[in-house]
């Protein structure tokens, strides 16, 4: 089995754009960094969603019941965002702990 969107693209009679519009098939990449990556035990995962998801919903879908820590920072497509933001097809979501550079 390949990923569902690739499989759909390979069926020439189906207009994928229309399917995306009608049934909300969203491919989303989720990345975790630093100590948070170790806490959730994941580096990067991809999900296919059939509904519009907020960042909070994505966390709960991917992190197996681990509560979303209050201090966690989040980004969509490398721009800071908040937990209520809605994710679109093709977006890259990132979760990470407070930064400590410099």
């Amino acid at each position: 089995m390949g990923n569902p969107v690739t499989l759909l693209r390979n069926i020439s009679c189906i207009n994928l754009d229309r399917i995306n519009q009608t049934y909300f098939i969203h491919m989303i990449t989720i990345k975790f960094f630093a100590s948070l990556r170790e806490e959730v035990g994941k580096n990067e995962v991809q999900i296919v969603a059939d509904e519009q998801l907020t960042i909070t919903k994505i966390w709960h879908q991917v992190c197996d019941g681990i509560p979303l820590p209050a201090h966690v920072l989040m980004a969509i497509n490398m721009e800071y965002t908040d937990s209520n933001a809605v994710v679109k097809d093709g977006d890259e979501v990132a979760f990470f702990p407070p930064v400590t550079g410099g």
């Binding site: 630093a34 100590s35 490398m78 800071y80 702990p97 400590t100 550079g101 410099g102």
Partner: protein, 141 residues
């Protein structure tokens, strides 16, 4: 404006020398250099690993450089930040601002450094002399 992330040791003085604008065009150069200490919260630190979020880091540093160039009367900015495995004494970050006068140069340099510390996606993981490994979870002023 230049933003550079490097896994290699760098000499900030050499970068400053190479980056300087044409003589006579600027009157002030404000710089900040951050260097790795061999101690942290009472423990001796042997080495440190600097993780970052590739592309988001560069994007964020470019954005704050743009903001500084718009907000202050300055001529140019430079940010170099180390990633990967580093040792005590290694330089971690260089922030430099060139301007006609010291006021905007100091202010913009401080702004860039504070914004970098607050939001640029870097994370430090240090190894102590007893080989304990821990994430640094606070940014001191």
């Amino acid at each position: 404006m230049l933003v550079k992330i490097t896994p290699n040791e760098f000499n900030p003085w050499k970068h400053l020398q190479n980056h300087e604008l044409q003589a006579g065009k600027f009157g002030a150069t404000a710089t900040f250099i951050g260097t790795m200490r061999d101690y942290n919260v009472g423990d001796t630190v042997k080495s440190m690993f600097l993780e970052h979020y590739p592309d988001m880091t560069e994007k964020y540093l470019q954005r704050i450089s743009d903001t500084a160039l718009q907000r202050w009367d300055i001529l140019d900015t430079l940010i170099i930040h180390r990633v990967g495995e580093i040792l005590p004494g290694d330089n971690i970050v260089l922030v430099a601002v060139w301007a006609g006068h010291r006021g905007p140069a100091f202010d913009a340099c401080r702004f860039l450094m504070e914004e970098l510390k607050a939001k640029a996606p870097f994370w430090k993981r240090e190894t102590l002399v007893n080989n304990e490994v821990r994430w640094v979870n606070a940014n001191n002023a």
